[in-house]
């Protein structure tokens, strides 16, 4: 938007970069991995989606109205909620709603806090800040929710004997589910904790790298990264906790019964 502090990439340079994917295709053909077609499709999808979102973002950034920006934020959250559920193996009626409620609560609370409380963006809906921050939070909340949900429902199915053992001995539904809940939350938090542990040593996060490439001072870029990591950790925990609690209420009824009958397994067809 301001003076350009970085080298822009033209169409020919993009084409040149795409040659790198030939490494994958060659490997796949050479080793008969059967992935060549999928790789090409994935590359084309990635390129098209990103070029498209580039155009959309240009348009959004020019807006100065909160409503369309919030509408886009809602669509992004909805897509994240659906994607989170689609990576799980066992579903129950209402799981998409549970995922959506958890994504919205976690992402909006935490992103709102970052925008208004920490970075103090004026106006608060400034798309240049809101959309990228929300996007990063959503990407991680999505992972947290799908890991937590998958672990919890898998636990209900696999450890049904243990859960019902506790129930028959007089456990409340909460006592019976406690181990499954803590297990699911622990698994959901592992990627975030691992990322924080090695950040800056093993990995240079994409956002920070992007800011530096765009000409920001590394010291500033690093501060943004620290803020975003705290946001990600909080939102992941909130989202995972929310979705596990909602799943718990659906799979353990008020009469302290495990309702494993409400769970059905889906064949893993789609990615």
């Amino acid at each position: 938007m301001n003076e350009v502090a970085y080298l822009p990439i033209g169409p020919w340079q993009l084409a040149l970069a795409s040659l790198a994917i030939a490494v994958n295709v060659a490997l796949s053909i050479g080793l008969r991995l059967g992935l060549a077609r999928t790789l090409v499709v994935a590359s084309i999808r990635m390129t098209a989606q990103l070029l498209l979102i580039g155009l959309v973002l240009e348009w959004v950034f020019a807006l100065d109205e909160p409503l369309p920006i919030l509408a886009i934020a809602l669509v992004m959250s909805g897509l994240a909620a659906v994607a989170a559920v689609q990576r799980t193996q066992r579903r129950f009626a209402g799981v998409y709603w549970d995922s959506l409620v958890s994504v919205l609560t976690a992402a909006f609370l935490v992103t709102g806090f970052a925008l208004v409380g920490v970075v103090r963006v004026r106006p608060w809906y400034d798309a240049q800040y809101l959309i990228p921050l929300l996007g990063m939070v959503l990407g991680n909340v999505l992972n947290g929710i799908s890991l937590a949900l998958d672990r919890f429902t898998e636990g209900v199915a696999q450890r049904r004997g243990q859960v019902e053992l506790l129930l028959t001995l007089g456990a409340t539904r909460w006592e019976a589910a406690h181990a499954l809940v803590t297990d699911a939350l622990r698994v959901a938090m592992i990627p975030t904790i691992n990322a924080m542990m090695v950040m800056g040593i093993v990995s240079l996060p994409g956002m920070m790298t992007g800011q530096i490439l765009a000409g920001a001072a590394p010291a500033d870029a690093v501060r943004y990264q620290i803020v975003i990591m705290f946001m990600i950790a909080a939102a992941t925990a909130l989202g995972a906790f929310g979705v596990v609690m909602l799943a718990f209420v659906r799979l353990f009824d008020a009469r302290h019964r495990l309702r494993a009958d409400r769970l059905r397994r889906v064949e893993r067809g789609r990615r």
Binding site: G161, Q162, E164, L165, L166, L167, T168, L169, G170, A171, T172, E175, R255, H256, R257, L258
Partner: protein, 221 residues
């Protein structure tokens, strides 16, 4: 809680359970009076296990009502109900750890607050089964099917329930262990007049020994 002796302890009226659109059993009545030993019989697949699970409040009923100690199941707080009407599945689960950890399991729950695991009581029961105290320190994962069955029974007896629901308890036991199990249940039953037991079993001879009355379960029951 005041209860006359002729009133049933556990009582089911018009019980019905449907599985995939088919009635497994329907209009089934059941009365269990204090001190009674009742056997529920029926061919494989007649839903004996589902009946016991319904009586334990683990599965919902499609029809009918269960009453225990004068109050309907719907008004009982489930954890307290299950602490008194204890269900032992055919293939009981063990938690990771020692036999003692398994026997102690219930005493960490709110429903049993104020009670503690009595190692001496457990040891005494183990002796009736021909085991020594060192059995308590054995790993639960290393137990045979029959031993797990016995530990699971002990675990339930230690919470001193009023009603025991035993689902094929001797399925994986040899004759001697079977007799030991029956002896434990008989001793538990004799210790207080307010207790009663329901068995399911494939072994006719066992039902002869352990049950005073039989109730047949079937689609036209």
């Amino acid at each position: 809680m005041a209860r006359r002796d002729d009133m049933p302890l556990l009582h089911g009226r018009g019980l019905g359970r449907r599985v995939e659109g088919r009635w497994l059993w329907r209009t089934f009545d059941l009365d269990l009076t204090p001190g009674e030993r009742l056997a529920v019989t029926g061919p494989t697949g007649s839903g004996k296990t589902l009946l016991l699970r319904a009586l334990a409040g683990l599965d919902p009923l499609d029809e009918g009502e269960i009453t225990f100690a004068g109050a309907t199941l719907r008004t009982w707080p489930m954890p307290r109900y299950r602490a008194r009407v204890a269900y032992l599945p055919q293939r009981p689960s063990m938690v990771e750890g020692t036999v003692a950890a398994n026997l102690r399991l219930a005493f960490g729950l709110k429903a049993h607050r104020g009670r503690t695991f009595a190692r001496t009581g457990a040891t005494r029961m183990l002796e009736q089964l021909g085991r020594t105290e060192s059995f308590l320190d054995q790993r639960a994962e290393e137990l045979s099917g029959g031993e797990s069955q016995l530990v699971a029974l002990l675990r339930v007896l230690l919470i001193e329930p009023s009603v025991l629901l035993l689902d094929e308890p001797s399925a994986s036991l040899d004759e001697a262990a079977s007799a030991a199990l029956e002896g434990l249940v008989a001793a538990w039953l004799a210790a207080q007049p307010e207790r009663a037991v329901i068995w399911t079993s494939h072994q006719g001879a066992q039902l002869e020994r352990v049950a005073g009355r039989r109730l047949a379960l079937g689609p036209r029951a």
